[in-house]
């Protein structure tokens, strides 16, 4: 089956890679994936990837944490057992609010940070014992790899990629 074939083009320089991505995009080929040993500045823009919404989720997680902290302090310190502890006014939440601010701050940060990280793991499908999806071990060291699916255009793609400075071009079966 032709559709199960992909081209792996290898590069050894991030600048060359970004230019190659732009060239491939200009020819309207779909890039399945790019594997890099380190973050390449501007690669996401060149590939036309949508911006992340992780920061937006973090904002809402933070608000959730703040809400939890307010509920927690209000329920425990004011509603459930309003003791006089060292003369602190426990008649209403607002009167004793300054004492709760450190907790409110920390829980906001705690929720925002941890839930955002977990969201990141889930969206990126990362977990312990996860099988690595690396097509070539060199991409974790000093090579960059662009993966393009083949749709009866193997010749055209290979010649295009050769022009972009690829050091190695392999056509492989995708399992």
């Amino acid at each position: 089956m032709e559709a199960n074939k992909v081209i792996h083009a290898f590069y050894t320089d991030d600048e060359v890679l970004v230019d190659a991505v732009k060239a491939v995009k200009a020819e309207h080929h779909h890039i399945e994936e790019v594997f890099c040993p380190f973050p390449v500045h501007g690669l996401d823009k060149a590939m036309g990837l949508a911006p992340t919404r992780l920061a937006i989720t973090a904002f809402f997680y933070g608000i959730t944490g703040l809400g939890v902290a307010i509920w927690l302090t209000n329920y425990i310190m004011i509603q459930d057992w309003p003791q006089d502890i060292g003369g602190k006014p426990s008649f209403s939440w607002f009167e004793n609010m300054p004492a709760f601010v450190p907790i409110m701050f920390e829980l906001t940060v705690f929720f925002a940070a941890h839930l955002m990280v977990i969201t990141f793991y889930m969206r990126s499908r990362i977990w312990p014992f996860k099988e690595a999806e690396n097509p070539d071990p060199r991409t974790t060291d000093d090579h960059f790899l662009m993966e393009i699916p083949v749709h009866n255009n193997e010749e055209a793609l290979t010649s295009l990629l050769a022009k972009t400075g690829a050091v190695e071009i392999n056509v492989v079966d995708k399992h």
């Binding site: 501007g42 920061a55 003369g87 300054p98 004492a99 601010v101």
Partner: protein
């Protein structure tokens, strides 16, 4: 070269003239205040449960004892009578001494109104100078194209320093009652004004020391400003293998060291000295934070304005974005210090420290709480979004609220100690503000017009001109400008 437009020049001069007229009027009407007016003010205060117009009245139970109510209305010293008599320089409780106290507060008002705006203007100009020195010392790449804007704003430093020196000399000459420790007999054990607490601090707070220190701060700051402005312009044409640049670097290092010491002592002398019975250790940091946020906002304002007039060729949306990030970050920093100071005092509730907040919380509740919204909640929610930070009009809206909020902050540092419950935001305050707004516009734009807007000799200029924050789209540029 930038041309200071005639229209704006007229506008700023009009603000200055309007301000001067208002200030002169308020000083004139202030000098007409008599002991009778003070008695009226006391009566009015006790009749309507004192200060109903300022929101909440004091929560402590009111007795029918008139003198006690009057004492509360007078402002600075609240709460238990025992604390009051030991803490207060105005120990006596009879009506006449109270009327005199209120009279002093009424007479202070034009001075205080002027002093708040003066200190705010001087402080934020000084912090622009400091931020500028930080840019040089940190060898910052992004901000080089707006260094001349910062330099131009510091053109405001000399005129406001002279005004500050005049106010300080006037205070030392007893032309006002801004600083209570300057009152006659404070350090004289045989006087009925004798204040043992202040006397114990007289090794620091005495008129001679105060005057000498104040003049030294002003001279040190203005010396650096004079030197760096001259040498920065020299840098453009120096072509001497960055020798001038390194000289400016060294001068800025020395200035930052001097600044941290003088700023700390300045906030003790000029602000904490208004409340000689009260002290706080992180106060100087707190004052610094207020002035730093305001300084960054003013830099952003002038940058946005001058850029819109095409006077700043190298500036793009990323520079605005960075300024807005600083405004955001230091707004949070201000809140942190404001809350740290408040919460420690509130939590321990030691009477000698708490009076400071009691006076502010009872008589200044709306501005006191309102400024937290303006200085924290509003900028945090508005400027947290990366896209919003690069929109000049958004930064402008955020900046207006931030500047107003920090003016209120300085207002609340000064007013409760000088005019107490007799505060109001009226002609004296507004005209002082107009005067200093007009002054900073005039001095900034006229000194911006005197030098090349691009600091050509700076080795980081090219880096600054190509500065791009990766995350934002720039308006008016195609995607080819991004790498």
């Amino acid at each position: 070269m930038y041309q200071f437009s005639g229209k704006l020049k007229t506008f700023s001069l009009a603000l200055i003239v309007l301000g001067v007229i208002g200030i002169a009027f308020s000083f004139y009407s202030g000098s007409q205040t008599t002991i009778e007016d003070a008695k009226h003010a006391i009566e009015a205060a006790s009749n309507d449960g004192h200060g109903g117009s300022h929101g909440e009245s004091i929560e402590a139970p009111h007795t029918s004892d008139n003198s006690k109510v009057d004492n509360n209305a007078s402002g600075v010293h609240h709460g238990e009578g025992s604390v009051d008599t030991t803490m207060s320089g105005h120990g006596a409780h009879d009506d006449d001494s109270h009327a005199e106290h209120v009279l002093h507060q009424l007479q202070n008002r034009p001075w205080s109104a002027f002093y708040v705006a003066l200190f705010f203007s001087l402080g934020l100009t000084l912090l622009v100078l400091t931020f500028y020195a930080i840019q040089r010392v940190a060898q910052v790449g992004w901000s080089v194209v707006i260094l001349r804007v910062m330099e131009a704003i510091t053109g405001n430093l000399l005129p406001v320093s002279i005004l500050m020196a005049i106010v300080i000399i006037a205070s030392v000459m007893h032309l006002n009652h801004l600083f209570p420790w300057m009152a006659e007999g404070t350090f004289d054990p045989s006087s009925e004004n004798y204040d043992p607490i202040v006397d114990g601090k007289s090794w620091w707070i005495n008129s001679t020391g105060f005057l000498v220190r104040s003049i030294i701060y002003l001279i040190l700051w203005n010396t650096y400003r004079f030197f760096i402005r001259k040498n920065s312009i020299k840098e453009d044409t120096a072509n001497d293998g960055n020798k001038t640049y390194k000289k400016n670097y060294n001068a800025s290092v020395i200035f930052l060291f001097v600044f941290m010491i003088t700023e700390t002592m300045m906030s003790w002398d000029w602000i904490m000295g208004l409340d000689p019975h009260w002290f706080s250790t992180l106060f100087a940091w707190y004052v610094l934070a207020t002035l730093l946020v305001s300084a960054l906002t003013v830099i952003a304002f002038f940058t946005i304005y001058l850029r819109s007039k095409n006077a700043l060729p190298g500036v793009n949306d990323s520079h605005i974005h960075d300024l807005a990030k600083f405004m955001f970050g230091f707004s949070v920093f201000w809140t942190y210090l404001w809350f740290a100071q408040f919460m420690l005092i509130w939590y321990a509730d030691i009477p000698e420290e708490t009076t400071y907040y009691v006076a502010r919380f009872t008589e200044y509740k709306l501005p006191f709480l309102g400024m937290v919204v303006m200085n924290f909640a509003f900028p945090v929610l508005l400027l947290i979004n990366s896209d919003f930070k690069s929109k000049p009009w958004f930064v402008f809206i955020g900046g207006v609220v931030i500047l107003a909020g920090h003016y209120i902050d300085v207002f609340i540092m000064v007013m409760p100690s000088t005019v107490g419950a007799q505060w109001f935001f009226g002609i004296p305050e507004i005209s002082a503000l107009l005067f200093f707004i007009g002054l900073i516009i005039y001095t900034t734009l006229s000194s911006f017009a005197k030098a090349n807007p691009v600091p050509k000799g700076n080795p980081f200029l090219a880096e600054s001109e190509h500065f791009h924050y990766y995350n934002i789209e720039h308006s008016g540029e195609d995607s080819g400008d991004h790498h």
